[in-house]
Amino acid sequence: MKIRILLILFLSASLSVFSQQVQVSGTVLSSEDNLPIVGANVLLKGQNSGTSTDFDGNYSLTANAGDVLLFSYIGFETQQVVLNDQKSIQIVLSPNTSALDEIVVIGYGTQSKKETTGAVAVVGSEAIEKLNPQRVEQALQGQVAGVNITSSSGSPGSGANIRIRGISTNGDSRPLILVDGNVIEDLSAINPNDIKSVNVLKDATAGIYGVRAANGVILIVTKSGRKDSPLKFTVDSFYGFQQTASYLDLMKPYDFAQYVNDASGKTKYLVFPETGTDWQKEVFETAPILSTNVSASGGTEKSAYSFGVSYLDQDGIVGLDKSGYSRLTSRLSYQYDLTDDLKLSTTAIYTHSEKNNLPENGIGAVLYNAVNLNPDLAVYDENGEYSLVKDIKQIEIINPLAQIENTHNKSIVDKISATFGVDYTFLENFKVSSKFQMNHAVVLDDTFLQNAYYGPGKGANRTTNEVIDFGAVFDDYTWDNYITYTNTFNEDHNLNVLLGTSIFNTEGLYYGAIGRQLKDGSNSVADATIENTEGIGSPRFQPESIALGANVFQSRLASLFARFQYNYQGKYLVSGVVRRDGSSKFGPENKFGYFPSGSIGWNVSEEDFLQNSSWLSSLKLRASYGIIGNDRIRDFVFLSRLNGEAVYSSNDEVEEADLLRGVAEGGLSNPEVRWEKQKTANIGLDAAFLDNRINITVDAYTKETEDLLIAPQVSGVLGASAPGSSAPFVNAGTVQNKGLEFRIAYADNIGEDFKFNTSFNISTNENEVLFVESENGFQQGGEYGVGLGIITSRMEAGHPIGYFYGYETDGLYQNQAEIDALDALAFDEDGESIKYHSGAEPGDLKFVDTNGDGKITEEDKTNIGDPIADMTMGFNLGFNYKNIDFSASAFASLGGDMVRDYERKDTYANRGTYMLDRWTGEGTSNTVPRATSGKSINTDEFSDFLVEDASFLRIQNIQVGYTFNQSTIAKIGMEKVRVYISANNVHTFTNYQGYDPSASSGSPIGSGIDKGFYPVAATYMLGLNLKF
């Protein structure tokens, strides 16, 4: 820097001989806070000379009259001023709204959007704040083309599944998520208010993260302070309430009684009840939510700091506090310049969260019980106690209100995430960086199973209470060391070279104990501690299993990476990355893998013929190709360990000593197991029109994941079915994802007072399995019903991953004659007469004989849908009129299917009102089969009658705010006061009958089976933003 300044001084001095020199000085301020900007560039256009502002935002330079001064700073719009004879020029820079000047975090560095060659999307803090999310994931839905968020539960504090550009592996499809360079797998620890930007790397340029980048990379940057700025506070707070966004249409008592009589074929109800219980109304509650976030930031000449504390407290719409969630976070970010060349930065995030859990999403869940319980049962019996469930024989269906009351299950998480980094600049063009990141988390799960009686034979009945205290400690660290070389040659050749290493270690320890029967016959949760149980309590792990490593895990990565980025005059861009990763998950022969990728870009608008276009502000074409890897499988699959289940009884029957603990082989090994590789290609363009008012981004991609790591079913003779064993992982499959992404944004001002912005994005995704190496040609997963042994989903060449495999139907059998006619033509291999469709009776679903062999058999099962959406769309609208701001966003998903599997189909279990349209005799219906109890092809076989289109359009957020005039609030020392009302998840338009068409279980083979997903709540909030 010193050299450059000297050079400039020298040049200016020499130039002064020849032309009329003007000494100009001034200050550069930020429009955001009217504070000086330190280090803003002040350049003479076309002359490659200039200066930068000092720590008071002041600059001074000598130039010629007629020169054009360019004032620029990262994140702000560049301004030009033609120098006449002004001595002083005061400049106020505004944060840029132009997408191309945005700063993009690309891994081990940043770039301006204009220079990037990859498919990278950025969501800024403004967009996040508008959405008022409780979790970061909620802010991504609909904001970024190609990113799809599904939740496995809407209960407070629950996680979400993030899928970037489809499902590319049948294993773990989660993207790599880094917060300030720190691997954070669980985003619940992050307060969305603390986020400055979320950067999504969607294509092969993510290859800088090598083996972990196959599912995409999300880089989150948290807020930091700015140097030389006074202490500022912001307070963001909202209070609101949540309600269920939907109720299922279930039969009312009267209709239900009629249905039971029909189904059982007997007169179970002589008198039809008119009144009863709406179990859904009983279970769903209006739940409060409260969030407060206070942060302070500022800086001195050499340092910048930011500190924040937040608190979120949320009850569940089912069970209120029993599914409540609270989270306290505190965050610190601090940068300090030891010298001009040596800079330190550190961040720390501490999170404490408590989550109460009710059984959810499946058999035995509170909602499952509410849906299935007979509506003629009263909530309370004649003694005022919760009524027992007697009519429904299924052991898991119990009174959901009693269940809520008796459930005591709390998870407590304490987590510290911290980063520490040093940057040292030397020889002008070199910077060496060392960054250390760590996470430490302690997770406690405390459960008290209290004695309870729910009705005869119910599985949840207990006569001996139990205290279960389980804990886990997770630790990981990442240490990155890298050198960056940046230089410009001959003014036109811009080069950036990065060379680095990274090591990553993650480990965990599980512990805990179980105690039975509280002392003195207590059955109170208040007494429920292990110490207070009879006997000594038994540890979660016996010494024998600890010796076999059952309570710990550890895995490591060691990587080298290199990247060069070159551009010529900012017009022609080229970039290449190669990363070598070593992973402890693979055997000695296959430990190391190389992941190269390359990308090119052309800023067409920089060409002379377009430079002065009045309508085209910018245009860039991009292309990338690369190979990235995946190692997300369990540890040590290349080794045959003796960690199988091997416990027998010496039969003294009394205590733990009775158990004989031995060894047996665990999961079958495959020493050959190697990286899963993804070959991904992307072409795209970024364009802006009409003074950056309209921005368009288009991308087309294809991803082919080869050598898929799968644990296919293997022949039973190998012994993989033994307890504690499992099939070996092999590299045996190929999945292809293809898609198009399009985003358009339009922002403009109409007059002084009216500003608006709107954006729309649409993504398509086509998933096809190209190859599965399995003896029977498919992998399977997912289950329909209870105990029927019906596997729903397959991964098979020529179909989307996890497609539903079942019977196609074609209406209903209307009469016996129709069935008899089909039977008359059906014969087995030996020519003996058989039933055409075993078990079919009039009013039953008519399965399609897809293979044309004249009978309905297993072989007729076919593709009856898949859970993967063909298309997703996001829509955002915002405007400001004077002091009022408005924003709204919507998300749509089209073409995904869901399996309706939340009905237990017991004689006395309630069903959807669609059963009112059931077949009751010839010609009465050709769509909804007759009521049945007992074995029936309608309920005990998996057919397309159970598969529904889960397309939906969701109004995600509507917010209206009012910002008080600065002049008014300045009197009370405020800089900004804004109040708003906001509604999240306002309404979902869908034909799907279940609670939540956006839900998903998340596992690639077997997702989309709806066993009663806890719906995402509709939330209504009143909020306040303060700055002072």
């Binding site: 020889l427 090591i503 550890q554 190391f592 003796l642 010496s650 042994g789």
Partner: protein, 523 residues
Amino acid sequence: MKNIFKITSLFIAFAALTTACDDYVEVEPIGPVSNNYFNSQEEYESALIGAYDMLQTTFWNVLTGTIASDDIVAGGDSSNYDQPTLQDVDQMVHTQSSNNQIRDIWNLMYAGMNRANYILEFQNKLDFDGKENIIAQAYFLRAYYAFELAKWYGNIPLLTEKRGETTRIANKRILFGDQYVINRADDVAAVYSLIEEDLKEAIPNLPVTQDMDYKVTKGAAQALLGKIYLYHGTFDDTKFADAATELDAVINSGAYSLAQGADFQKIWDLEGENGSGSVFEVQYTSVEGAGWGCIICSEGNYIPKFTAPRSPYNGDKYIAGWGFSLPTPMLVDAFKDGDARKELSFLDMAGENYSESRGNTGYFNKKYLGTKENDATRTGSDPLNYTNNYRAIRYADVLLMSAEAHAQNGGTKAADYLNEVRARAFGNNSQDYTAAEGDLLEAIYNERRVELSGEGHRFFDLVRTNRAKAAFDTFNAWVATQDEEIGHMPVQYKENKNEVFPIPLVELELANAVETWGQNAGY
């Protein structure tokens, strides 16, 4: 120059880091790996526990085998087709695609063989006193699992090797890749021959009594060998004499006796476990919890809950359960007046308040019911783990098997052994066999039916004695007289098909063996 030095040293540091990196990812697992084990006596003993552990998964064999017979109907929830595979097995309408239990038994018994084979594969790695005993137990366990497979699937695929002049089951695990080259034995008799060799090798090295109840004794191995000879006799009647020899050795050992009087009343209780009449038992315990996610991981027995009357049953001694496995009235009636076994075998539900199962008969199998006492001390939330040991080979069974083997050759001991069993049941010799009763062999068969009712032997006895078709015809005639409402279904037993169960189709496919192994006839 100084700069060049700086840059160079940076690169050297970088190169050094690279090398260090490669070692960094060498993470050693905690605990042993399978190819580096068997370094001490304790390690042999630990691996043997692993092989024993698989015995606990045989509750599926017992339950499914019991339901397959003519004496027990499936039961379960009346409003649902509860446990479809069991219902299908009950009616003999299972197909090669009926997976659940039929596939579980296939997979688990092979897993058991593999665990025994793991020890046998490394048996020569280390020498120590008492190793013969361990190896002999491993041979027994392999034989036990292989015999289960042969009972269910007939001529199963096995890896074999020549040892001396004898073809033996290979002393090695079936490893990945082997499933494509392994072949089915020529016929089930060939499988019996292979298993017999294992037991013949085990017997000399097993003591008459072991230091712990759970361990295989010489008597257990002889009894199993005798039993297999008896099964083998169906195809080669010279084996009956071998059966008699082995079974007599058990009887003459003096190590076993039929519990009498008050002890007899308790043989099905916890107290009666590993008693004087127990030759081999599968040990279960309820001191470790069990979960639905992995029922086979349990150290407890699942049958006691599975077969208990459905609630609101609230008896004095027994728990309520899922209501499977119901004895037919014909079986109950097969017990003569004065037979003490009747009371020990059945829970008579007359006058009891309970939910009727599908195909309700009014009786439950008392031998393996869970007790309330056990339920109160059981560990774990899910009621899946009860202590009831499975009495795999009882002395009464040995006596009757021996009687049968002798009767096949007209031996005189047959009636004596039969009478010994009867005398215990009636408390006197009033029921001793006389010629007036008819065919002695027939009498022994009938005695097996009542003595061993609900223990999982009946179906396989019917098959090996070629009486299955007749028995199911009788059953079907009874079904025809029953009220349709109750839900009894006729059994569609076909000869030359239902003697064995199908190899699950998916297992044929996974071994790429649809052609090479072929499916069992008729499926």
